[in-house]
């Protein structure tokens, strides 16, 4: 029965279906750029600085493709995860440092996701003391018990709300000439706020967890080097697509809020960017997108962190283990959920600032991981003949340096301003 269906398929369809089956991890990873802190960051960047930061998105799109390609290639060649390779290559101390940074970054990002849930709820006057605990409990249950694929699909559909920015671009009629200008002539302001926002834009796009997650899923799928070219396509396409949406969010907010001098301090302000498109419904649209993005990330992030930790230290792991067999795995998973949701419940915690600062922190911690990944991807012993090309190395080192320089500039910003 199955055979006849297979045989009657036209060739192009088989090819297309094959392509779809391979496309996946890269697309999912890169779409996750536009999680709650991502939406917040691009909205604030657009509303505060107009088109000024759009060149950063262009630069980090290239950076993201290069870095995620390395991770995917390592996964395909070695069949192992990033945490595995770091531990096996660099030993306990370095791997503990990398793990510490990953946990801090992911905890901050998970907190930011719950902040996203709170912000989405508050748009409708739902207190965060109601929305966040419910979200935490429900998502913990889903991660532990539910059919993951089904949940993932529902959440992906909710995330489609961020597509409304793509449509909105054509209703708000942005100043394309100015956008072109901003792309060709990169600008930097030597102010703390600007540098923080710039790092947040970088940090929300290139994340440590995306590197770990992508490599693990490529390794898990058993992609070999013959099929690898499709994975590379998936990664490049996914990154480009994720960043096009990011750019559109920035453009729409710049064309609506920046032009009118509206600063974004909370979700209500950010949602106004969608008013030309959706009118009164803009709040609904914005909060649905925010909620979907937050919950999708919450369903993946704590789990990915826990897996990486247990892999690096050899603790038993996996949702098919019993709690007694894998106490560290379950303990950590639940602790991440609990801690990150509780932080958001601190009275008057500024949600939007938390979302953005978490991404700035992400960016600051990233260089250490990038250096380790670069070393691994250049090791002949690990990668055989699939070590990095020169171009990959130049681009990846360039991105790493950019982050380091901006981070240093941020810390010495008061000093620098005195000198210049």
């Amino acid at each position: 029965m199955k055979d006849t269906i297979k045989k009657n398929r036209p060739v192009w369809l088989s090819k297309f279906l094959f392509l779809l089956s391979i496309l996946g991890p890269g697309l999912i990873t890169a779409s996750a750029d536009n999680d709650a802190p991502g939406i917040a960051t691009y909205s604030v960047a657009g509303a505060t600085y107009g088109y000024k930061l759009i060149w950063v998105i262009l630069v980090i799109t290239i950076g993201e493709v290069v870095i995620l390609e390395m991770a995917a290639r390592m996964g395909a060649v070695t069949g192992k995860g990033t945490a595995d390779l770091i531990r096996e290559r660099f030993g306990v101390k370095i791997s503990t440092l990398a793990m510490l940074l990953l946990i801090i970054a992911n905890l901050a990002t998970t907190i930011a996701q719950f902040a996203g849930v709170a912000a989405a709820g508050e748009l409708f006057g739902i207190s965060r003391y109601i929305s966040v605990p419910i979200a935490a409990v429900v998502m913990t249950f889903i991660v532990l018990k539910a059919e993951y694929k089904y949940v993932e699909r529902v959440l992906l559909v909710l995330c489609l709300a961020s597509l409304s920015y793509v449509v909105a671009v054509f209703t708000v009629k942005p100043d394309w000439a100015a956008i072109g200008q901003a792309l060709i002539r990169p600008q930097i302001e030597l102010t703390g706020d600007f540098l923080v926002t710039m790092l947040a834009v970088i940090g929300t796009t290139i994340t440590p967890w995306a590197i770990y997650y992508l490599q693990a899923s490529v390794a898990d799928r058993g992609v070999d080097m013959k099929e690898y070219k499709y994975t590379r396509l998936d990664v490049s396409f996914g990154s480009a697509w994720g960043n096009v949406i990011s750019a559109f969010i920035l453009i729409v907010t710049a064309a609506t809020l920046y032009v009118n001098g509206v600063a974004v301090n909370d979700a209500k302000d950010a949602a106004m960017a969608l008013q030309p498109l959706a009118g009164e419904a803009s709040s609904i649209l914005f909060s649905v997108g925010l909620l979907g993005a937050s919950l999708l990330a919450v369903s993946v992030l704590p789990l990915a962190t826990t897996y990486a930790f247990c892999e690096a230290y050899g603790f038993e792991r996996g949702l098919n283990r019993k709690v007694k067999e894998a106490p560290v795995f379950y303990g950590m998973l639940i602790a991440i959920m609990a801690i990150s949701s509780l932080v958001v419940l601190i009275p008057n915690a500024p949600l939007f600032q938390m979302m953005i600062l978490s991404q700035t922190l992400n960016a600051m911690l990233l260089p250490v991981l990038l250096i380790l990944v670069l070393k691994l991807a250049n090791s002949r012993e690990i990668m055989g003949k699939y070590t990095n090309s020169k171009l990959t190395n130049i681009l990846a080192i360039g991105i790493t340096l950019l982050i380091v320089v901006v981070t240093i500039a941020l810390f010495f910003e008061p000093l620098l301003n005195k000198i210049f």
Partner: protein, 421 residues
């Protein structure tokens, strides 16, 4: 107890108190022994060049590493290529703990002295080993003392360690011999957690029968990867060893060309059996039945039946034997007797006494759920499958296969490992 992490990068002294170099790695070769002796130390000299010296020259390892000879009398160790580098290949790597049946990461290697020899006795996989590597051992001991809890080391004896690297055939063989002491289902669970290059290499070294048993318990991804890597003749041999229903499931998932090729390479008897199974839909009794079951002709008595089970080649191949089916000349089911009843009955009792026109059974196209329902309702270990037209008995559906819908035995296959899968 001496730990490898305490030795690495330490100074090595000769008998006159000269520093001859620093420890870069330690080599052992007889990894199949319960406690392999240290064969050589890889020394890093001051200029960065490396030198292998014989393990027999070691006088002490702890607290200082001293040799029993003067530095001018140092003899080089001649490597034969099968040595295991403890730092490079064991420390920080994953190994299988065959006693605990799990995959763990090596935090340290334990060395002990016995009759003037230094032996590798085990690996430390516990938190304590981790703390020692991080230089927090004293702090941990202090905390343990102040708060009065016990710091336990988790050390696995070397004979229970199966290293899983796959680049040295000799050591691979040692690992395989240790792995096959475990149950196939445990092997499969561990292989599922391993990266696919390693699991492939390990599986291919097993003999056909163990490989078949392990594959039956593995996820489809592992099954497919292993079959794809083998030459077709071997793959066909392994499929013959698998339960026909499991082999049919696997073949159904492969692409047509490949499964056709493998089928044609199999022995005719197995090929026909599997082709029959492939013809039934996956969720029908025919799709999940096995064609191997124990049967005897109706004219036998208990003694003849027992003798038949003991001696016939065919009966030996039946892995699942809780019932003995009584068939007539046309392979039609006349009755069924449980092994318990058979064993406790008098030897001269004719099997006809158990004849029954109305044995609970299903047809090949009966839905899996209905089959499971009947098995559960009548408390059966297996239910016969009977062709509705010829009334021939085709096979049995065993309780575990029937309940697969409710409680999947191969449940690992359905749980995403890292969310993305």
């Amino acid at each position: 107890m001496i730990y490898l992490s305490n030795l690495l990068n330490q100074k090595v002294w000769d008998s006159f108190g000269h520093v001859v170099g620093h420890v870069d790695d330690i080599l052992v070769s007889h990894t199949d022994q319960a406690m392999p002796p240290i064969d050589a130390i890889l020394l890093k000299k001051s200029k960065g060049d490396l030198r292998l010296i014989k393990g027999e020259l070691i006088a002490t390892l702890w607290p200082t590493i001293a040799l029993s000879v003067d530095q001018r009398e140092l003899t080089n160790y001649e490597p034969h290529g099968h040595e295991l580098h403890l730092k490079q290949r064991v420390l920080d790597q994953q190994i299988v703990d065959t006693e605990g049946k799990r995959l763990v990461r090596v935090n340290d290697v334990v060395i002990a002295r016995k009759n003037q020899q230094f032996l590798v006795t085990g690996v430390d996989v516990g938190v304590r080993g981790l703390l020692r590597r991080l230089g927090l051992d004293t702090a941990a001991k202090f905390l343990a003392k102040t708060f009065n809890f016990k710091l336990t080391s988790q050390i696995i004896a070397w004979e229970d360690v199966a290293s899983i690297e796959h680049d040295d055939p000799l050591r691979l063989k040692v690992s395989q011999e240790r792995l096959v002491q475990m149950e196939p289902v445990d092997i499969a669970a561990i292989l599922d957690d391993l990266d696919h290059h390693t699991s492939k290499a390990l599986l291919q070294g097993f003999d056909d029968e163990i490989l078949a048993d392990t594959l039956e318990q593995s996820s489809f991804e592992v099954q497919q990867a292993v079959l794809a890597a083998m030459d077709p003749e071997r793959a066909a041999d392994v499929l013959e060893e698998m339960d026909p229903d499991e082999a049919a499931d696997l073949l159904a998932e492969l692409d047509d060309e490949r499964s056709e090729q493998l089928l044609s390479l199999m022995e005719d008897e197995d090929e026909i059996e599997i082709r029959q199974l492939l013809a039934y839909p996956e969720n029908s009794a025919g799709g999940i039945m096995t064609t191997e079951f124990a049967w005897v002709p109706g004219e036998f008595n208990v003694e003849q039946a027992l003798n038949h089970l003991r001696t016939s080649e065919e009966a030996k191949e039946d892995e699942f034997m809780y019932y003995l089916y009584i068939l007539d000349n046309e392979e039609r089911l006349e009755g069924v007797v449980s092994l318990r009843d058979l064993v406790t009955a008098p030897l001269e009792k004719p099997l006809q006494d158990w004849a029954d026109d109305d044995v609970v059974h299903v047809e090949p196209l009966t839905h899996q759920n209905e089959t499971a329902y009947l098995v559960a309702k009548y408390d059966l270990m297996a239910i016969p499958v009977i062709d509705p037209e010829t009334h021939k008995m085709l096979g049995i559906v065993t309780v575990d296969d029937a309940l697969d819908t409710v409680l999947p035995t191969a449940w690992k296959k359905r749980i995403p490992r890292f969310a993305g899968k």
